[in-house]
């Protein structure tokens, strides 16, 4: 993500540039932190998002509101209430998403309760898994100029395929799991191939097609859930059969921590995608087609083929996300399966600037805010919506680097360093 080292200032050295020695590394490092590059902008966005969250807590929580009322009579007390509320809130966010220092201390001193101490971080990783997979898929599309808004549909398609193979095939653990994983990818790939071929053959815009396909797959799921053989026998509810143990992703640790092999799969997929986009010949072709399809065509590339492939690959990765939740934590499908992961994938792709490493970090941040937010809601009176506001502010700022530059008075990064990373809806 941080490809930026020192800015190559001397790009246009046709004129007699003063032959000054380059500044020492620490000065360059310092300058780099004052520059609107990707890392600094993202960091500032997060800081600002948390700051907005703090303001919201201060002006909405009943305890602090009462304290505001007494600020004239007992300013010391009021301030201490306000700060302790803030401290509790952010403490809860941390405790709920990473770990609780006291629980860890307890585990160290007694040797007991390790699982409880690490449950928050485990939950964060569980939430991040589908986001990483789907976010990487969407990001590959975005960096190719293809706006895959069909994450939700592809995710459901992958989950449906994985469920069928999960309960329909009887094999030992490893081959069965491999098959389930492949089925998830294949389901998503099919859902991605449809808009791909429609765009290539008829010019239908992928944004429209993928959005509409979301509804189709959502309703397909609802239909299949009340129809044999997917429906759980003997049930009238819209619930699928449960997949057997051989189709479940094994937990990484014991003690009831839910983090499973799916997380490693997600990291592997992100790493593979990073390699693919940087070193793969096909990835290069995708980038060229994304940046300038007619130059690609002139150089002999097949833009239609690339579009189909991109959407298929993108869909396959999103399909894996659907599989990961099914085989990792849920084990059966129900109506509303997948929550908002298909849409949040778009957000984390944006947050990660369409680079796989960025998507991983963005997904972890998003997941941490979600799990922390649930804990916050349960333990203080601050609603879950607060963390959603923080998420939204962060994404908003990451998407508008110019605004961050203004707020934090950053210097403009060197030419081409911070490219606007989505080009609008145009083909």
């Amino acid at each position: 993500m941080t490809t930026a080292a020192a800015p190559p200032e001397e790009t246009l050295s046709e004129q007699g540039a003063p032959g000054a020695a380059p500044p020492p590394w620490w000065l360059r490092a310092l300058r780099w932190t004052a520059e609107a590059n990707v890392a600094v902008v993202s960091f500032c966005a997060i800081v600002f998002g948390l700051f907005v969250g703090a303001i919201l807590i201060v002006v909405t929580t009943p305890a602090t509101l009462t304290a505001w009322g007494q600020i004239g009579s007992a300013p010391g007390h009021s301030l201490s209430v306000i700060f302790s509320t803030l401290g509790n809130a952010f403490g809860a966010l941390f405790t709920g998403s990473i770990f609780s220092p006291s629980a860890v201390g307890h585990a160290i001193s007694t040797g007991q309760g390790w699982a409880a101490a690490f449950t928050p971080i485990s939950e964060t990783m569980v939430s991040a898994t589908p986001l990483i997979l789907a976010g990487t898929g969407v990001a590959i599309g975005f960096s190719t100029g293809v706006f895959n808004i069909g994450g939700q549909g592809q995710l459901i398609a992958g989950a449906i395929a994985a469920t069928y193979v999960g309960f329909g095939v009887h094999l030992p653990l490893v081959p069965h799991l491999v098959l389930v994983v492949l089925a998830g990818a294949a389901g998503g790939a099919v859902a991605g191939f449809i808009p791909g071929i429609l765009k290539a053959r008829t010019g239908a815009h992928e944004v429209i097609v993928t959005i509409m396909l979301n509804y189709i797959f959502l309703n397909l799921l609802n239909y299949l859930l009340v129809t044999p053989p997917l429906q759980q026998p003997g049930q009238s509810n819209a619930i699928s059969r449960t997949v057997p143990a051989s189709a479940r992703l094994p937990h990484l640790f014991g003690g009831g921590l839910r983090v499973n092999v799916g997380f490693l799969v997600a990291l592997g997929v992100a790493a593979a995608a990073a390699w693919f986009m940087k070193r793969g010949t096909l990835g290069f072709e995708f980038k060229v087609i994304g940046a300038n399809p007619s130059a690609g065509r002139t150089a002999g590339m097949d833009a239609s083929k690339a579009t189909i492939l991109v959407l298929t690959i993108s869909g396959a990765l999103v399909g894996l996300a659907g599989m990961s939740t099914l085989s990792g934590t849920d084990f059966f499908l129900s109506s509303g399966y997948g929550g908002n992961n298909g849409f949040n994938a778009i957000t984390v792709a944006l947050l990660g600037r369409n680079r796989p490493l960025g998507v991983v970090l963005g997904s972890l941040l998003f997941a941490a805010l979600s799990t922390g937010g649930r804990y916050l809601q349960a333990n203080t009176n601050i609603p879950l919506d607060l963390t959603q506001v923080i998420q939204a502010v962060i994404v908003f700022l990451v998407a508008t680097p110019a605004l961050v530059r203004e707020i934090f008075r950053l210097r403009e990064a060197g030419a081409g360093k911070i490219l606007l990373f989505t080009k609008g809806w145009g083909a």
């Binding site: 190559p8 046709e14 010949t281 060229v288 300038n292 007619s294 002139t298 002999g300 490219l419």
Partner: protein
């Protein structure tokens, strides 16, 4: 109005774009500012128009020092500018575009369209601009859009009109028409500051000439005192070959055989109409014609960029039928293509120079193996090509967008000539380039010919066609109206470009011969 720029200096970081530039434009004069791309002409004009602030120096209008904080200030002082890229709203009418920003209003804030239209008609008539105030801008040809821009400045009562590279987008005919307008503006007492890098135009239209090089004034002269050669060496800083030196062609067997080729556009209209043409090894066939007479489509059909269902007839490369072959198959078969618009079709601007140099062979050894790119090899190859093709860049890892137009074109040329090439198709190979780059590109093309490559050049610049071509094919409305030797007079080729059928006049037959039937020039007959 007399305009003086004195000691204007402007630096962007280490790059000094303008270094103590002095320039005086007298009332009623056409003053040409000549210089290569990157010489600092546009920077100077942006300072004059209030878009940049100069680091030092001052601007005087009729002897009085002025400070322009923004273009509005400049406009109020009677300075008008027609940018290289037009600033028009396509869906608005001419009248709406012209009044945009200072709309004449009647009572209650109603737009006074009648007055706007009357003003436009009056000025349009006065200077022969021929613009219909009610036409929608998007429906106008480029030349007319430019006249709208000129009108925009005139309506705002510009006394000094700056035209930034106004002919880059014009056909030769439109250029002629523009020169007439410029002269009538000067006759009315207005001054015109004409920015260009084209020598012929300067000599055709200027009263006085200021030449810039590397941010400084390299010389001042008039068309009476200097010819093209002097201007070119002033501009480039060394002697320049203005004519392409080449030996007589030694044509071999036909490499490209186009027979009865017809291409229809999206609306089903014939844009290439039963064209037959051979290009032999070791010769350059140059296609002349006013832009939009099917040359682009002919080149695209040869390189495979046209949808197959819009093409009929046959295209053969060394006797092999390639009419249905994909662009990649043709490219691998030995066709190199320098596209007409390097930024739109030739380059991926945000990508590095090195990546752009392998755009066609990125998946081939040694740049890739088993689907994995060898980035070190790509980088090293890029660095080598910088040297081999004289691309001025400090590193092949810079985005190609940071290069000047001439160097961008060299990147395209370098890429296309780095494969084994049997047929080179070059469309407008020097459009928008400076003298030095034009010289370079022409030499490379002739070198390819001498190596035994067949070359098809498409150009709307008659000079280029006559300088490069061993044979000249003239296209008009999708047909080849004749193939003539390059010694044919410009007048005659001009007539053929305008569709006057020389063959019919000769009584030699009505339609142009469908083969490569070469006809000798008819001398100087008008």
């Amino acid at each position: 109005m007399k305009l003086e720029l004195a000691g204007i200096t402007k630096a962007f970081g280490p790059l000094v774009a303008n270094d103590r530039v002095d320039l005086t434009v007298e009332e009623g004069e056409v003053h040409c500012l000549l210089g290569e791309n990157g010489a600092g002409k546009t920077t100077l004009m942006n300072i004059l128009f209030g878009l940049f602030r100069a680091d030092a120096g001052e601007i005087r209008v009729d002897g009085e020092t002025v400070h322009f904080r923004d273009p509005g200030d400049a406009v109020r002082k009677g300075i008008g500018m027609v940018h290289q890229h037009f600033m028009l709203v396509p869906v608005f009418t001419v009248a709406e575009n012209i009044v945009l920003g200072f709309e004449p209003v009647r009572r209650f804030g109603f737009l006074d369209r009648r007055r706007a239209r009357a003003d436009i008609r009056r000025l349009s008539k006065e200077f022969g601009l021929d613009v219909d105030p009610d036409a929608r801008v998007e429906n106008l040809p480029v030349g007319a859009q430019q006249r709208v821009e000129i009108l925009k400045a005139l309506v705002r009562d510009a006394q000094v009109l700056i035209l930034d590279e106004p002919t880059a987008v014009l056909t030769p005919q439109e250029t002629e028409a523009l020169f007439k307008i410029i002269r009538s503006l000067a006759a009315s007492g207005r001054s015109v500051l004409f920015i260009t890098h084209k020598l012929k135009e300067v000599l055709a239209v200027a009263d006085r000439i200021t030449v810039m090089r590397l941010g400084r004034v390299a010389g001042r002269t008039t068309p009476a005192e200097s010819g093209e050669a002097e201007l070119a060496s002033m501009m480039v800083g060394r002697e320049v070959e203005l004519v392409v030196n080449k030996k007589p062609a030694e044509p071999g067997p036909p490499v490209l055989e186009v027979s009865d080729l017809t291409v229809v556009d999206e609306r089903g209209l014939k844009v290439v109409d039963h064209v037959s043409l051979d290009v032999r090894a070791g010769e350059i066939v140059a296609v002349a014609g006013v832009q939009g007479n099917g040359q682009t489509e002919l080149a695209q059909a040869v390189t495979g960029l046209t949808d197959h269902d819009r093409v009929s007839g046959s295209v053969r490369l060394e006797g092999r039928e390639i009419t249905q072959a994909s662009p990649r198959q043709r490219l691998r078969a030995g066709i190199a293509n320098i596209p007409e618009d390097r930024q739109a079709d030739g380059l991926v601007l945000p990508m590095t120079i090195a990546d752009n140099l392998v755009l066609d062979v990125y998946d081939q050894a040694p740049y890739a193996r088993l689907g994995a790119r060898n980035l070190a090899r790509v980088r090293a190859g890029g660095q080598e090509k910088l040297k081999e093709f004289d691309i001025r860049a400090s590193s092949a890892e810079l985005p190609v967008s940071t290069l000047s137009g001439g160097n961008q074109q060299k990147v395209v040329v370098a890429r296309e000539l780095s494969r084994p090439v049997k047929l080179l198709v070059a469309s407008q190979p020097t459009r928008g380039l400076d003298v030095g780059s034009i010289e370079y590109v022409h030499r490379r093309i002739v070198a390819e010919r001498d190596r035994g490559c067949a070359v098809l050049v498409v150009s709307s610049e008659l000079d280029e066609v006559l300088a490069l071509g061993d044979r000249v094919a003239v296209m008009y409305r999708g047909r080849i109206v004749g193939i003539v030797p390059p010694t044919t007079s410009r007048e005659q080729i001009g007539l053929m470009m305008a569709g006057v059928d020389q063959g019919a006049k000769d009584g030699a037959g009505e339609a142009p011969p469908a083969g490569d039937g070469e006809r000798a020039g008819d001398g100087d007959r008008p």
